[in-house]
């Protein structure tokens, strides 16, 4: 049990280290590397006086290390400063939008689980036969379709030609729960499909690899049925890599939402990030990218810990 605990502590410490490092990288990328930040924000033609005013407002006159410490310290307490464009605290802006996006990602995740496991199981039952080949081919076709194209096609098919779902997902605080779910169905489906395909491919690979292993042959030579072999002997051993892939996939959604939210005009975290980058709202950019990295690290940490807890080799 001690090894399990120390492994978990090790993962947590490691993740915190990564988060600190990534905050430095983001800070450097946004405030240090690009030279005169004020000129970038205000444009080349802006007056020197205006730049100087902004420089003081952003605190750029202070040394880099001091600025980083102030910023990172604020970030720890959820204070990311004021947004330059919204004229509101950055945290208010970010966390408001983040809620929408997490709801969307969570919905997509629910669809992802069956969509990734069931086809892989079908493939494992009929390896190299028609169902396996058909699903593999379909997977490659879907994987070869860019997310922006796939969501555009879904929108065209299910909102324009057959107007089942609303073409736009412009939710707001006033939207009711059922209506909200209805409106995010299409974006969630298009997010889930792409990720499920990646999950299916990985699960199939591990299952097919496992089906070639000695202990599966042993089970076969013990007279176990095909169903029991796949479900009881192969599947549990394939779940750990699947879990890791799922964590990466969930984290990928944090990036993937950028595209989907844009297609469906969904006011989430992704569109906020794009707006912030286009408007050069420095505090907002720093906060959004850091939050995205934080979610990525946190989700991977959870998956790692789960994998440690589930690993039979670490069980007593």
């Amino acid at each position: 049990m001690n090894t399990v605990l120390s492994l978990i502590v090790q993962r947590v410490v490691y993740s915190i280290g990564t988060l600190v490092l990534v905050s430095m990288i983001i800070f450097a990328a946004v405030e240090v590397l690009p030279g005169d930040v004020t000129a970038r924000i205000l444009g080349r033609e802006s007056s020197l006086a205006a730049r100087e005013k902004l420089r003081i407002e952003l605190g750029l006159d202070r040394p880099v290390v001091e600025r980083y410490v102030t910023w990172a310290g604020g970030a720890l307490t959820g204070d990311f400063g004021m947004s330059l464009t919204a004229r509101k605290p950055v945290s208010e802006v970010v966390f408001g939008r983040l809620g929408y996006t997490l709801a969307l990602a969570g919905f997509a995740m629910l669809l992802y689980i069956p969509l990734s496991i069931i086809p892989a199981l079908v493939q494992a039952f009929f390896p190299n036969r028609l169902p396996d080949r058909a699903i593999s081919t379909l997977n490659i076709l879907v994987l070869s379709t860019p997310e922006f194209l796939l969501s555009t096609l879904l929108l065209f098919g299910l909102a324009v030609v057959f107007p089942i779902f609303p073409p736009l997902s412009q939710v707001s605080a006033a939207t009711g729960v059922l209506n909200f779910l209805w409106m995010i169905t299409l974006p969630a489906v298009s997010l889930a499909i792409l990720l499920a395909v990646a999950g299916t491919r990985l699960l199939r690979e591990s299952l097919i690899d496992l089906m070639d292993s000695d202990f599966i042959r042993m089970a076969e030579l013990k007279g176990m049925s095909r169903t029991r072999i796949v479900m009881r002997h192969a599947l549990p051993n394939a779940m750990i890599p699947w879990l890791n892939a799922t964590a990466i996939n969930f984290a990928f959604m944090i990036g993937g939402v950028v595209v989907v939210e844009r297609v469906f005009v969904f006011p989430g975290f992704g569109s906020l990030l794009v707006d912030a980058l286009q408007l050069r709202d420095v505090p907002l950019i720093e906060a959004s990218v850091l939050v995205a990295a934080f979610i990525f690290i946190a989700v991977n940490l959870i998956a790692d810990v789960l994998a440690i807890l589930l690993n039979p080799r670490l069980r007593t």
Partner: protein
């Protein structure tokens, strides 16, 4: 009068490979009699595993039955459907795998893995299963381990895992058990225990066994009858003693002759020539796997594999180190050549101190001590041609390169009896034995005084081993090179070494002239090791190959 459990009739089986169809088993007919142990021997690729698996109706996807039958109580197993096979397997005919570590499901407790067999074939309830399990554990000698049912396989040792696999095979009281190299992955002493267990189980239950192995001396201890396979054909079958003492078929004779017998070296050389030894190690202590860690995380103290060993190798002398896996044999060799700097102790070479770290040694010191690795598949760069492999040492040690080295390279290849046409080949175009010859040639081309041979025969087939061993003897006689010969194969060691050192858990428990060690071992561990190897018939235990699925290798062709 002959009560047969299973009979194979004209069995013929093909593998489809990219290179075309390959016959794996050709027109084989034999009987398995009630209560007997039938040994099936042959080298890898001889079709012995494929034959055995047909008795379970198991075929690789690329295998095709070309003819014949496997009759078991009036049923032809070879053409039985899936449901029929499921009824049979694990129930009336069961299986003991080669490597229990990979054959047991890592994500399932051993109790569950045995219980599922009983539930499926005997429709037992939980209570009945529990009783049965306890009985089985008693029989295979695991009765004293508390809570064994709830353990995952990784919490059992290799020997214990194999006992679990045997218990699983016996769970439903089968009439026939197929054993596929069941002791190959195990240490010598554990191997002996498993053999004893199998013998006692046979005596108690009268179950028939088909025992597949390439290890002839081992079969001699347990088999009643012997079937010899060669290139897919059954070349000889008969009473074990008769096959061992008066084999009919030429191949069977050759196979038996290839096993290094328990006999003294042809010309017993005098031990350690007088004068200063070539290499001398004193109080060598070696630790492995020390890690610094990051911010104090993941720091670990290396396990001290060798706590303190002193040994000397004389000029023109072959010193062998024997011991089970994990006893520190290879670690010592790696320390001597500088790969693993010793934590403490001194190495003296030709009377001069030798640096512990490879980087601190002079080029000539590196040249003088050459290392030949166990597995030539790994020690030859797959992307270099043989000529280039042999030319590298010439470039590094003698500064010779280009066309000038060609005669030397050709000579080196001729010295190990390989055709010159091999110079332009890549290692994968050579057989295992040929590759090991190239590796030996590469070591000798540097003109060393000391050759460290680390299990150089154990990755090779038995008959190939004998030829490589002959080559080593010949080269030693010609060049006068000294050798540190590391092996767990007591037969080979006796026929080659001048002196033998016995390692046990990193300590050299006994060193002495070969004959003295073999005839009058002093240390109890040496006595046990020899007893396990000699077995009941006075024959040595043949080497173990790398644990790998022989069947898969056969299938690949």
């Amino acid at each position: 009068m002959i009560d047969s459990v299973l009979s194979v009739r004209g069995l013929t089986l093909d593998y489809r490979t990219p290179g075309g169809t390959q016959r794996a088993v050709n027109d084989v007919s034999l009987e398995v009699r009630r209560g007997e142990v039938l040994g099936v021997v042959g080298e890898s690729g001889s079709g012995k595993s494929t034959l055995a698996y047909q008795m379970l109706g198991y075929r690789q996807p690329n295998a095709r039955l070309a003819g014949g039958s496997v009759m078991f109580h009036g049923t032809d197993i070879a053409s039985l459907d899936r449901t029929g096979l499921q009824e049979l397997r694990g129930n009336r005919i069961s299986f003991v795998p080669q490597n229990p570590t990979t054959a047991l499901n890592p994500a399932m407790t051993v109790g569950d893995q045995i219980a599922e067999v009983l539930r499926k074939h005997k429709r037992m309830g939980s209570a009945a299963i529990e009783t049965r399990f306890a009985g089985l554990m008693e029989q295979v000698g695991l009765g004293q381990i508390p809570g064994v049912a709830d353990r995952y396989p990784h919490r059992l040792s290799g020997g214990q895992q194999q006992r679990i696999a045997i218990a699983m095979a016996l769970a439903c009281d089968p009439e026939l058990v197929i054993l596929d190299e069941p002791t190959t992955g195990l240490d010598v002493t554990v191997q002996q225990q498993v053999i004893e267990l199998l013998k006692s189980l046979r005596a108690a239950r009268g179950v028939s066994m088909v025992y597949v192995t390439h290890d002839l001396p081992l079969l001699r201890q347990i088999a009643d009858r012997l079937a010899v396979m060669y290139r897919g054909e059954l070349v000889e079958v008969g009473d074990a003693e008769q096959v061992f003492t008066r084999p009919h078929h030429a191949y069977a004779k050759a196979l038996l002759a290839a096993v290094p017998q328990f006999q003294a070296a042809p010309e017993a050389t005098t031990t350690a020539a007088p004068g200063a030894p070539l290499l001398e190690a004193s109080d060598l202590s070696i630790a492995y796997g020390r890690r610094r860690g990051f911010l104090g995380i993941g720091r670990s103290e290396g396990a001290r594999v060798v706590p303190g060993v002193s040994l000397a190798i004389g000029r023109d002398e072959t010193l062998a180190l024997i011991g089970e896996s994990g006893s520190g044999k290879s670690t010592i060799a790696r320390a001597l050549c500088g790969l693993v700097p010793p934590a403490a102790g001194k190495i003296r070479y030709r009377g001069e101190a030798l640096a512990g770290r490879l980087e601190d040694r002079a080029a000539d010191e590196r040249r003088e001590i050459q290392y030949v690795f166990q597995n030539p598949d790994a020690s030859l760069n797959p992307r270099m041609r043989v000529a280039e492999i042999l030319a590298r040492p010439l470039d590094v040690f003698f500064g010779e390169k280009g066309r000038a080295v060609r005669p030397k390279v050709e000579q080196a290849l001729a010295d190990v009896h390989l055709n010159l046409a091999y110079l332009d080949r890549f290692p994968h175009e050579l057989s295992g034995g040929e590759r090991q010859r190239v590796a030996i040639a590469r070591a000798l081309i540097a003109e060393p005084s000391l050759l460290l041979c680390d299990e150089v025969l154990s990755a090779l087939d038995v008959s190939v081993q004998a030829r490589v061993l002959d080559l080593l003897r010949e080269l030693r006689a010609r060049t006068g090179v000294s050798m540190l010969f590391i092996s767990h194969d007591l037969g080979v060691v006796r026929s080659l070494a001048d002196r033998v050192g016995v390692l046990y858990r990193g300590e050299l428990v006994e060193v002495g002239p070969t004959e003295q060690i073999y005839t009058a071992p002093q240390h109890p561990y040496t006595q046990r090791l020899l007893a396990a190897a000699i077995g009941t018939h006075g024959a040595p235990v043949a080497p173990e190959p790398e644990p790998q699925a022989i069947l898969r290798r056969e299938a690949r062709g």
